[in-house]
């Protein structure tokens, strides 16, 4: 039912036959993405999952504008994307926080670059620092924080610029298992509260099923979206959701799809 409602609107993020070819025309040419298309609607939580080296990160970086597609187009609310801008914000796998900036300064990063007023920056930064539960840590430096706390800063930095779509590139892969589960739950809570659209890269099936409303499955190189799986488990989801039988079924379905791709990659000798 929800599908029929959103489909009538312009997708918040749309990408059309994206191709990314590295070192085009040279002997070491790599076809990273091949005719990748998709539509993402407001409020969706999309995970992109696939075997390592399938071009998930390439796709996300292209959507952000950090990478230029060899061909194809990206639209945000119907208008084409030409490079990084405030409509999309990235959360990085390795946090990518400025070590010389405090938590406050890091969260304010995007706003400061955009030349926002000091008072506006202050309000927003304090709001999002509180949102990720880091109030009291504003004056700490990244090296004084744990991995989980660092990524909270990364998430707050992404939210602070109030993007239309938040792009998250394996944000929890550098965080220990226990913290990761807590972070997943918190991210979901925040997403629901803030009504954010998210595109999330992961190699963990569990993480993808738990978080997503829809999952894009990618093939081995050249990366293509070979399957879309809708996860019909209602939000809000908690850690208890993981024990539902349908949750296990979804995981099995995704794994069945993915298995073939991993085997193909293995035969190519790349795994």
């Amino acid at each position: 039912m929800m599908e029929t409602v959103v489909k009538t609107k312009t997708p918040i993020l749309q990408f059309d036959s994206l191709n990314v070819i590295y070192n085009e025309g040279e002997p070491n040419q790599v076809h990273a993405l091949k005719n990748v298309s998709g539509e993402i609607h407001e409020g969706e939580f999309i995970s992109i999952i696939g075997p390592s080296g399938c071009g998930k990160s390439t796709l996300l970086h292209t959507l952000d504008g950090l990478l230029k597609a060899t061909s194809g187009t990206i639209f945000v609310n119907g208008s084409p994307v030409h490079g990084p801008d405030g409509d999309r914000a990235m959360v990085f796998q390795d946090f990518a926080l400025m070590p010389w900036q405090t938590v406050y300064q890091n969260v304010a990063f995007g706003l400061r670059l955009a030349g926002k007023k000091e008072s506006e920056i202050r309000d927003k930064v304090m709001h999002y620092i509180k949102m990720v539960g880091l109030d009291g840590f504003e004056q700490k430096y990244p090296h004084q924080l744990s991995g989980g706390m660092k990524q909270r800063v990364g998430i707050a930095r992404g939210f602070a610029v109030e993007p239309k779509v938040l792009l998250m590139d394996e944000p929890f892969s550098a965080i220990d298992e226990q913290t990761r589960e807590i972070m997943q739950e918190e991210v979901l809570k925040i997403m629901l509260n803030e009504k954010k659209t998210v595109v999330f890269i992961t190699h963990s099936i569990d993480e993808a099923v738990f978080l997503s409303s829809r999952i894009f499955l990618m093939s081995v190189r050249p990366g293509q979206i070979v399957e879309e799986v809708k996860i019909d488990i209602p939000y809000p989801r908690t850690l208890e959701t993981k024990s539902l039988p349908e949750y296990q079924e979804y995981k099995q379905v995704i794994w069945d799809h993915l298995k073939g791709e991993v085997r193909r990659q293995y035969r190519k000798g790349e795994a």
Binding site: L66, P84, A89, M90, A96, F109, L113, H143
Partner: protein, 268 residues
């Protein structure tokens, strides 16, 4: 078991902290004391020819003498000024290094020459500098500049190139302009390297000023050293060298303090 150990250890270690000097100070001080003591003994037992070399108490007496007459301050002021001006000019190496590290084409065009000049023993150019800039202060200032700019420049450049790619990517993703990229990412990332460059440059600046003053001039520490040596005043000569040594240690320590202020994120 562990708990017992902890309860015993805590008070004793905190006591130690209050009473004892840190080992990084006490150890070198003991080493120095032993060296000075043995050296002094050698002097007292006539193992050292005062014409060829000297020993601590004699050097100390000489130093006391020229501190009392104010002789040393006259030389220090001149040498200090020469180093100060030359060094200030050499700081231009920071912006040049930033640019050369950031723009590949600039690096390609100039890097071989910078490396060549850095590795050349430029001290050999002193007579030429005297010819160009005269016997007075200017030739020394220029020597200090010529010797200290390259370590600063090269280290700054290395610092820029060592900037983590992920940070540059993050800044680009958040819409950084070229100027913001420098201010928010590249410059702060290069600061520790710049400080290292400055540290290396201090040593070279002192060499430059002393050698230039020795070769040409009638004032300054280098001149004072040459003068003492010509009169075979070995103790006085060594006393000036000690002054130089203390000075360079002080400058380096000062820089370390400065670095802590400038790069607080590095105290781990």
């Amino acid at each position: 078991m562990e708990k017992v150990e902890a309860t015993i250890n805590v008070p004793s270690s905190s006591l130690k902290k209050r009473k004892k000097v840190p080992q990084s100070v006490s150890y070198p001080v003991v080493t120095l004391a032993i060296i000075l003591f043995v050296w002094e003994l050698c002097g007292r037992f006539n193992l050292i020819d005062p014409f060829m070399f000297s020993w601590p108490s004699k050097i100390f007496v000489e130093a006391q003498d020229f501190f009392a007459t104010g002789e040393v301050f006259k030389h220090l002021a001149v040498s200090g000024m020469e180093v100060g001006f030359g060094f200030a000019m050499a700081l231009i190496g920071i912006p040049i290094g930033l640019m050369m590290g950031y723009w590949k084409k600039l690096e390609l065009a100039f890097d071989p020459f910078v490396t060549a000049l850095y590795t050349t023993p430029m001290i050999a150019l002193t007579p030429l500098f005297v010819l160009w800039f005269g016997l007075e202060t200017l030739s020394k200032v220029m020597m200090v500049f010529a010797l200290s700019i390259f370590p600063i420049l090269i280290n700054t450049m290395a610092g820029v190139k060592m900037t983590e790619v992920s940070l540059i990517k993050a800044a680009r993703s958040y819409g950084a302009s070229e100027r913001q990229m420098f201010k928010e990412v590249i410059f702060p990332s290069a600061i520790p390297f710049i400080i290292t460059g400055i540290r290396l440059a201090i040593g070279r600046a002192l060499i430059a000023v002393v050698v230039a003053e020795m070769l040409a001039g009638n004032i300054g520490i280098g001149y004072a050293i040459r003068h003492a040596s010509e009169l075979f005043q070995t103790a006085e000569y060594l006393a000036y060298v000690v002054v130089l040594m203390v000075l360079s240690v002080l400058l380096t320590e000062l820089l370390k303090m400065f670095e802590k202020k400038l790069a607080p994120w590095r105290d781990r």
